[in-house]
């Protein structure tokens, strides 16, 4: 019988097969090709190595950057928050002591760890990639098996370059059809999560397949794989194809010469065999998909933007009903309110989900020549210093600034508010990030997850809006690029 993509990558990394069969089997020991490190989940792991007198086994397969705590303003000054500064300084000292490559704040390669890896060409098809961050699933867009790990596992990878893992089940997410203009990768993944639920992917590796996925750019595929964890799946994957290779070629760490040819030959084998079977298959129709937004406090609580805020009575399951009641109260929403009537205070364009160059481009295309709603605060936070440079070279910074948005330096920023970029209690945000949990973006803050184009249209109108709600402006035509 054939193998799925996930099984092929898994099998190619088994250092030692676990003894036993079925439910009683011990985990396999898998080799890890790339370990990404940031300041929040690593200090205790480095400390563990130090206490045990263990070296970091493969510094040449490890790379660190600073992202969660870093300010997005005044980055040339010392970090004002003492605990944030301490954590950053701990990372710098640890990287120096153990010999780990580090891209610090101010460096051209600094940025959100999941933006940095791919743009350096370090994320490649068929690899195993881990990081002490649940959004490591992002790298699955290249056909890598990429997953978030806890700090104990970070220490384990540092010491052994391996992870003990039990095999996952496999789930195919089939997305067939053509997205309409204004409908994007973010809408696909929000719709998938609403369909299977925040626990639907638990224990599975998701493989996104179908014509709608094939038509997506790498930036868009990363958006989708990024939020696999929001469906409970530790990893999500897309089989590599010409789009992947075109993105890879010429990147600093992409293979060259004969190595490139050998790599492509291998990468071409990385797809699910026709006679392979998935444990579960889920279908989504791209043709009829509309822009999707969340109304509640978990990423599965989403609806089409044209719909209304649901009522707890709409949910059959008692737990879902109770969760909806609580969510509506926290979000300050009444059932039956059209989503498009919801007025927001802040628009956040950023995060490892949607802060890449294409995300900035499509948002800029919408606001160009239009005026921002005067009551809206809009933050634009590029995913990496390099994305920021690229955007500035294209003049996008000027478009955002002319519109009245704040053009910031790279980092995780308001996605989780570990730096000063936070919502005030009760403040409502249309956010291109990945989690609408209570207090995620700041204590008492209310988050609606949206795509970059919905974020941009919302900044114009002041209420949750899709690009099609905007009156046509001379320069503000939608490119229709599927991101």
């Amino acid at each position: 019988m054939g193998k799925t993509l996930a099984e092929k990558v898994w099998d190619a990394h088994v250092v030692r097969k676990g003894e036993g069969e079925g439910a009683n089997a011990q985990p396999d020991l898998l080799f890890i090709d790339l370990h990404l490190v940031h300041e929040v989940t690593s200090p205790q792991a480095f400390e563990g190595l130090r206490l045990a007198g263990r070296p970091l086994r493969r510094v040449d397969l490890t790379i660190a950057t600073e992202d969660h705590n870093t300010p997005t303003l005044d980055i040339d000054k010392p970090i004002a928050d003492l605990t944030s500064r301490t954590q950053i300084e701990a990372l710098r000292a640890n990287c120096k002591e153990f010999g780990v490559r580090l891209h610090s704040l101010g460096d051209k390669e600094q940025g959100i760890v999941h933006v940095v890896g791919p743009q350096l060409g370090l994320t490649q098809p068929g690899m195993t990639v881990v990081c002490g961050d649940s959004h490591t699933s992002t790298h699955g867009a290249f056909g890598a098996l990429a997953m978030g790990i806890g700090t104990s596992e970070v220490e384990h990878v540092m010491a052994t370059q391996t992870l003990s893992l039990k095999p996952f089940k496999t789930m195919a997410i089939n997305v067939e059809g053509t997205l309409r203009p204004g409908v994007t990768a973010k809408d696909i993944i929000l719709a998938v999560i609403a369909k299977i639920g925040t626990g639907g992917g638990q224990g599975y590796v998701l493989e996104y397949r179908g014509s709608a996925i094939r038509a997506l750019s790498m930036d868009a595929r990363m958006t989708i794989c990024n939020m696999s964890i929001e469906a409970g799946a530790r990893a999500g994957m897309v089989a590599p194809d010409q789009t992947t290779y075109d993105y890879m070629r010429g990147r600093p760490h992409a293979p060259e010469g004969a190595d490139w040819d050998a790599a492509v030959e291998y990468w071409n084998t990385l797809n699910t065999d026709v006679d392979a079977t998935f444990d579960v298959e889920v279908d989504l129709d791209a043709d009829t998909l509309e822009p999707f937004v969340t109304w509640g406090t978990n990423p599965g609580q989403g609806v089409s933007l044209s719909a209304k805020v649901p009522s707890p009575e709409d949910f059959g399951d008692e737990n879902a009903k109770a969760a909806a009641e609580r969510a509506l109260q926290y979000m300050g929403l009444e059932a039956g309110t059209p989503m498009k009537d919801i007025r927001v205070d802040t628009v956040f364009l950023g995060s490892c989900t949607n802060s890449r160059i294409e995300d900035l481009r499509v948002a800029a295309d919408i606001i160009r020549g239009r005026e921002k709603d005067p009551n809206i605060r809009m933050l634009v936070v590029p995913g990496s210093a390099r994305v920021r440079l690229e955007a500035e070279a294209e003049g996008l910074d000027k478009v955002f600034k002319d519109f009245g948005a704040e053009w910031r330096f790279a980092g995780c920023s308001m996605c989780l508010g570990m730096n000063p970029d936070q919502l005030e209690p009760g403040e409502r945000c249309a956010s291109t990030s990945n989690r609408n949990f209570e207090g995620r973006q700041g204590k008492g803050g209310r988050t609606h997850l949206v795509s970059p184009v919905v974020a941009a249209a919302t900044a114009v109108r002041g209420t949750l809006s899709s690009p099609s709600d905007l009156e046509s402006a001379a320069a503000g035509t939608l490119t229709g690029t599927a991101v």
């Binding site: 030692r16 370059q161 760490h253 737990n319 989780l416």
Partner: protein
């Protein structure tokens, strides 16, 4: 890691599904660089509400948390497990755990016991009707006992064995270092290395 066989302590009913790791420990507490001292951070936002269960005696002295489905979703932060442990919890009961949270628990000796939702409902009733009732969690027999409710729980055999023995993962893996070295020798040359560092000129 300390070995875990059985534990008996006050049960805390947390009638809520999708308890995500941002609720268990908000991000602002993740700036610490120590592995202990997170007890004040546990459910920090919810604990500001006086009616929250952990603000009520005898539940504030609880050590077995009984939560709704999909516990520990979201972020990979192991701090969530550290905070639960530092507060005094030895076990969490839920009908479904997020994968990363469950893995982190197993590494740190916090027992994540998967109990059927019907049994969770029964345990909730006992704990609410008789606050202070103790729950006995027995990893040897894979059962929980609370008042007149006795329920089985699921945990994978490997994690159970490691918990019972109190084994350190890294030590176990390094017993197979020869296998790792042998694997490393077979990796193709096209696989990338982070060193020496390469960057674009721009």
């Amino acid at each position: 890691m300390e070995a875990f066989t059985t534990h008996t302590g006050i049960g805390v009913p947390l009638r809520q599904s999708n308890v995500d790791t941002d609720q268990i420990i908000p991000a602002v507490y993740l700036k610490r660089i120590t592995r202990t001292g997170f007890e004040d951070a546990l459910f920090a936002a919810w604990r500001k509400d006086e009616s929250f269960i952990l603000n009520q005696a005898p539940f504030n002295a609880g050590s077995v948390l009984v939560a709704g489905p999909d516990f520990g979703t979201g972020s990979s932060r192991e701090h969530a497990v550290w905070a639960l442990k530092d507060y005094g919890f030895k076990a969490v009961l839920s009908s479904r755990f997020a994968d990363i949270f469950r893995g982190n628990s197993g590494k740190q000796g916090l027992l994540a016991a998967q109990v059927a939702q019907d049994d969770i409902e029964l345990i909730w009733k006992v704990l609410e009707n008789h606050p202070g009732t103790e729950i006995k969690v027995d990893l040897v027999s894979k059962t929980v006992e609370c008042g007149n409710v006795v329920a089985p729980f699921e945990i994978d055999d490997y994690t159970r064995w490691r918990l019972l023995e109190g084994l350190d993962d890294i030590g176990l893996t390094l017993q197979h270092e020869e296998d790792i070295t042998a694997y490393e020798a077979t990796r193709p040359s096209f696989k990338p290395k982070t060193l020496p560092a390469k960057v674009d000129a721009l």
